[in-house]
């Protein structure tokens, strides 16, 4: 799991530019599934067929994209102005190192005449790639190019931290699940989705095409276990979280209960998650066509959307176990 996570979190892949992630995941799962396709949006779709003639179609989704900074203007001195791709807080990116697809790196800073840091907004910030002029900068970066955090994964005990755990951690869980599921009474359609961070877009179109009976997404969620954090009953390391609701979906009670039941049967630690803000791919999947009963397995994660998103190894491993238990049995 650790090596897989190092590989996946180290890949460049802001929303809309997921090619490298897609390629890497394809390599990880080739041979473990019956079929791999890519759709027009760039979603990677891997199918594990079932010998059961009454197999239910289960769609599993984890998103490949990560938040990023997109260049909107290059000034005459070679500084890059940028806007956000997905939920980027000015404070999270300030004085961070970022990297473009071609490997060019830069530092994020701001107009220092700004006297009140509360007023810090992205349009008062810029990326400095060390260029001296517009022309020099233009040789390396074009308007429309996007950068992501440059923050290789680090480890401290059971905790891994780095950028893009949201949602490469979910991708890693799906990859490991693909490898671990032996025989399933269900047809399993694993979708590594695009453009989740900008509005669950890849999940929406892929769910339409796949037309599943059940949807399960795997994504990170917040925790309430850091000093004076916003209260929330999810702790890092206490097990994968079975989502009850967030702003995008109220998980279908039967799917949620099934997840709980499977966890309890197998003695896998789990938590229940009520997230007051934010959403995930199931938000789009459950409203596809005539409705798809959907649930979410969440990976507890501290400092989401920062350069140092922190997850716990045990939560990841237990998420794989739980998913495997769910998928190897009949689904409601």
């Amino acid at each position: 799991m650790k090596e897989l996570l190092v590989r996946l979190t180290g890949i460049y892949g802001p929303s809309g530019r997921e090619e490298a992630v897609r390629q890497a995941i394809r390599q990880e799962i080739e041979g473990f599934v019956d079929e791999i396709t890519e759709d027009v949006m760039g979603n990677l779709i891997a199918v594990k067929k079932s010998s059961n003639p009454d197999a239910k179609k289960v769609m599993l989704a984890a998103h490949m994209d990560q938040i990023g900074l997109i260049v909107t203007n290059i000034d005459e001195n070679g500084f890059l102005r940028f806007s956000n791709v997905g939920g980027v807080s000015p404070f999270n990116v300030l004085h961070r190192r970022v990297v473009f697809q071609n490997g060019v790196t830069g530092a994020v800073s701001y107009e220092t005449e700004l006297d009140d840091m509360k007023k810090l907004k992205l349009d008062k910030m810029y990326i400095d790639i060390g260029a001296r002029s517009r022309e020099e900068a233009g040789k390396h970066v074009q308007i429309g190019d996007a950068a992501v955090y440059h923050a290789p994964m680090a480890q401290s005990g059971d905790r891994y931290f780095g950028c893009a755990m949201d949602d490469r951690a979910g991708c890693a869980v799906l990859v490991e699940t693909i490898r671990s599921v032996k025989e399933s009474p269900n047809e399993l359609i694993f979708v590594f989705t695009v453009q989740e961070e900008v509005g669950l877009r890849g999940a929406k179109t892929s769910a339409y095409t796949i037309n599943p009976d059940i949807g399960i997404s795997v994504d990170v969620t917040l925790t309430g276990d850091t000093p004076k954090s916003r209260p929330m009953a999810v702790n890092l390391g206490d097990g994968p979280a079975v989502k009850v609701k967030d702003a995008s979906v109220i998980c279908h009670p039967k799917v949620k209960d099934l997840m709980i039941q499977r966890a309890e049967e197998a003695g896998i630690p789990y938590q229940l998650e009520v997230l007051e803000y934010g959403g995930t791919d199931s938000g789009a999947i459950h409203l596809s066509r005539e409705g798809v009963p959907s649930g979410v397995i969440s990976i507890p994660c501290r400092y989401v959307h920062s350069a140092h998103e922190m997850v716990d190894r045990n939560d990841l491993e237990n998420a794989v176990k739980l998913l495997t238990c769910i998928l190897e049995k009949e689904i409601v």
């Binding site: 209260p231 609701k245 938590q271 998650e273 009520v274 007051e276 409203l287 005539e290 409705g291």
Partner: protein, 351 residues
Amino acid sequence: MKDFLAELIEIPGGSGYEEQAAELIAKEFSRLCDQVHTDSFYNVYGIKRGSVSLESGERPKVMLAAHMDEIALMVKDIDEKGFLRFTSIGGVDQRILLAQEVTVHGREKLYGIVSTVPPHLQDAGEAQKVIKMKDMCIDVGLPPDRVKKLVRVGDLITFRSPLATMQGSMVNGKSIDDRASVVMLAEVMRELDRLQYAAEVYCVATVQEEVGTRGAVISTYKVQPDIGIAIDVTHGETPDAPKEDTYAMDKGIAICKGPNMHPGLTEKLIETAREYGIEYQISVAPGPTGTDARSMQISRSGVPTILLELPLRYMHTTVETLNLDHIKSGARLLALFIASLKEGWQEWLKY
């Protein structure tokens, strides 16, 4: 009608947890229509087919939608003393929560109270400040170990506020938004039985409206109607609200105008009201409404949609107040409108 409303509003049905409400509605609908179906999200479809046949053979498929879900609360955390922290499902005015009586739907149904701090312990000026929902808790009067056995994070909490009768035909209670309109669906079915009509009518009690008209998204996709009719509530007149944003409690149901509604069909509905002398008011929505009409209109290839609204005072509180006469007159108007869809009804949908 009043009995059905009284029975219905007492059933817990926070968005996403409408199974019990769906059961009761399906039972009531089955007495009144040809076919009843409940989908996996607990949208309930009551289908009535008119006996008039049209020469063209193309009978209009009309979908009526009224939502059965209600605003509610949900357990977010349980502290070491057994008090429950909570969040809301749907838009709840946090200022009405203090000292409310609730039911916590744990492994058992538990009675609970939303906590308050007694005035004696407050500093001067504290009563001027709004208490935030995140700082409130619910007390179920049980020791912490019992609470932890019976209640979990994610359990639904509903308000306790059964139907109460006021002067004239006014009633109040919780979740009259939008169960009153579900009751109206049943009344439409009764009215239709007295009329000759050609349409195939789908009366759909929808789920998850309060969190984004989600039930209407999937049910409209499924039904694929030619005409959509949403029934919801709008604000009734009160002294503290601007007159131009509220509607009289005794002047009939409101017919909504705006881009979300088909202009031609809306005119036809108004004509029907005039023809039969049914009182109505006009409400206005400048953008997509916060009702099921929002998603009905843009389902698949587009659904010409109209919206009727029952004036309701104190929306999203435990004492939502309604004039029962509006259910009757609104149902009659809708049934007459449906019956007026005859040969050439397609012309009505043109722009």
